[in-house]
């Protein structure tokens, strides 16, 4: 008993002592930093500004950007808070907004989140006019600009684009079993049969995540029912249009023909599917966007990535009409919190992230396309031949197939789509009823 009491006492003392140490440390670093932060050229000390930034983006790159930014903007300190994925980011952000305590810098990923956040985002039109003149829109690509425009105002800095809706493949595995890159549904089916016969998984899909299910299904829709989903979301035609119903049939067929891997709905895209495809290499295909090019800059897996020849293609022609589906494009953007006390500093940081060094870091990581009309910017790193080939293929597909908007503006429709797609995949709901249920949700919203 006594020993235990002593142990408890010791624990408490140590912990409190470390509190003291921590406080002490904090103070010393602050005081040692402040002289260096004061620009020596001016006598008037610039006011120190702290910016809060929350994101689900890659930590390594963002940390580098912050370091670079603080070098040239000594009066600004950026505190970044990272989240594992977009839903977690949004949970935290919503709670913060509810108390008027949101971060100064708010990224958003889609029309859905932009619409929800609109009332909390500062219109940035004058900022652009000030720094890029009145004809600033001409300096940006139209797509990215429209992705940050809502109700006649600009609420974010146009983001870097990277199309979704591709299929990646492991060329080594395909070669090993004499499989040629499939261009039609039948070829895809034959390839997946061959792979399964040899104990491998065919097309990997992290169906525990709704976003990749939606990407995949939008690709199917754009092949089987070109353009119709957008008309249905705009209430021009009903969602239970026969061609859309057929898209649900195709989705079901992919499961019935065992083209997706086993246990599809228990795996997340990151990290389950990513690991299965890149690290364990148990599957030969993966449904994922062009951002998967980041595998080439993943240091943890360098040896594995380099040992394989990777390929990328658009979805095969699923309905046999000889046409391949356009890719999906959305870029989102980065906005400023309306109640931020440091809007000018926030604007400086956002600009930094998307131009110059910041832009270069983004491009080098996943070879994303800048939103500027001036095409001067490219990767500064030495691309491997495979990486170069993959990148060129993606650019070619974008050119050949074109792109259409990614995602659905109404989050309730998104939720419902994921819900019915799961049920259709498990054979618990007919395609017609699935489409009908989505239509009901579209009807019920304003």
């Amino acid at each position: 008993m006594n020993i235990k009491k002593i142990a408890l006492l010791v624990t408490v003392t140590i912990l409190w002592a470390s509190l003291m140490v921590a406080c002490g440390k904090g103070n010393t670093t602050e005081s040692s930093q402040s002289p260096s932060n004061t620009p020596s050229t001016t006598d008037i000390k610039k006011e120190q500004v702290t910016l809060n930034f929350e994101t689900w983006a890659d930590k390594t790159i963002t940390d580098k950007m912050i370091v670079e930014f603080e070098k040239t903007h000594t009066e600004i300190t950026v505190i970044a808070n990272y989240h594992t994925n977009f839903p977690e980011f949004m949970t935290s952000l919503k709670t913060a907004i509810a108390t008027g305590d949101a971060p100064d810098i708010i990224p958003f990923d889609s029309p859905t989140s932009m619409g929800a956040l609109e009332s909390n985002l500062e219109p940035l039109d004058q900022y652009f006019e000030k720094d890029y003149n009145n004809d600033w829109k001409g300096k940006f690509l139209a797509g990215p600009v429209s992705d940050v425009s809502i109700n006649g105002k600009i609420v974010g800095f146009p983001g870097f684009s990277s199309p979704g809706g591709l299929i990646w493949y492991n060329k080594n595995l395909l070669d090993k079993y004499g499989i040629k890159v499939p261009e039609t549904y039948d070829e895809l089916k034959a390839a997946s049969d061959m792979l399964r016969k040899n104990g491998l998984q065919p097309l990997l899909l992290g169906a525990k995540d709704s976003w990749i299910v939606l990407d995949t299904f939008q690709e199917i829709l754009n092949d089987v029912a070109p353009g119709k989903q957008y008309d249905a979301f705009a209430k021009k035609i009903p969602f239970n249009d026969p061609e859309i119903v057929k898209a649900f049939d195709t989705w079901k067929k992919l499961f019935d023909d065992k083209i997706f891997q086993d246990d599809t709905f228990s795996m997340t895209q990151y990290m389950d599917v990513y690991n299965s495809f890149v690290d364990k290499q148990v599957g030969a295909f993966q449904s994922n966007g062009a951002w998967n090019q980041d595998i080439f800059s993943n240091n943890d897996l360098k040896a594995k990535v380099d040992a394989v020849e990777w390929g990328v293609m658009s979805f095969p022609d699923l309905n046999g009409d000889g046409k391949r589906a356009p890719l999906l494009n959305t870029v989102g953007g980065i906005g400023i919190y309306k109640k931020s006390k440091n809007k000018d500093a926030a604007w400086e940081f956002i600009k930094f992230m998307n131009t110059g060094i910041g832009a270069q870091l983004q491009i080098d990581r996943a070879l994303v396309t800048p939103p500027f009309t001036d095409p001067a910017m490219g990767p500064s790193i030495q691309l491997t031949p495979n990486q170069k080939q993959v990148n060129e293929t993606i650019n070619q597909i974008v050119k050949d197939n074109g792109t259409l908007p990614r995602g659905v503006a109404d989050p309730k429709v998104t939720e419902k789509l994921y819900d019915v797609l799961t049920k259709v995949a498990y054979g618990n709901l007919s395609s017609a009823n699935a489409a009908k249920q989505v239509q009901d949700v579209i009807d019920s919203s304003k």
Binding site: L15, W16, N81, Y82, N85, S92, A98
Partner: protein, 260 residues
Amino acid sequence: MKNRGIEVLRNSLLLVTVGLFSLPLYYLLQTSLQNKGFGNYYNALTKINLGQNMINSGIVTVSTVLLVIAVALPAAFAFSKITFSGKNILFLILLMSLAIPGISIAVPVVQIVKGLGWTNNYLALIFPYTALLSPFALVLMRGFMDQLPKELLESALVDGCNVYQAFFRIYAPLAKPVVMIVTVFTFLGSWNEFLFAKLFMRKESMQMVTTIPIKFQVNFYTDIPGLFAALVLIQLPLLIIYILFQRVFKEGLTAGAVKS
């Protein structure tokens, strides 16, 4: 002969059960040692600022434990030994708060914390944790107090003590076993809490240990052994606390949980 048979059956059942229970733990340890062996642990300690997070969690947890004991023990005493009007309804109300899931009150709690100017401050976690964890402590402590004879109080009052002295000198020292139990459970609840820790502590230097796994995921890390090593490390203090308190635990739970 029949007894032997039952004994063999009993022992093999016990072994199978313990085996099944230890399998996931074995898997955790084994995975944490893959690839780089103990290097995974070294990396976890040095690369991801685990030490700072441990200190943060330690400060919050120890303060929460002390505060929970400080508010729950006197209340348990009053509910058990003092008669006052509205006692039952008050106790019921406090019991109800046992059932409130943290997630359902996240937004308003953030508002309060913000209103008090406590974001990125240890108090932002210590106070809500105390509120959420003290009802359970109260239940355990009241159960224990109920078993202590009320004559102690009566004779103390006869001897000229007042109620406060009776509480501090007689009942509080006797409650040591249940205080230990409460310490363990409050420690667990506070150390392992995730949602508030994530929402209130934005600054990296103020983050708690439960947010560590996120650090492995935000980089598109594929280092599962490294993650598992960090997981083992963040749970280690709890294991030490449990083993230290194991004996007392046994005595205290009886008294506490049997009657509520």
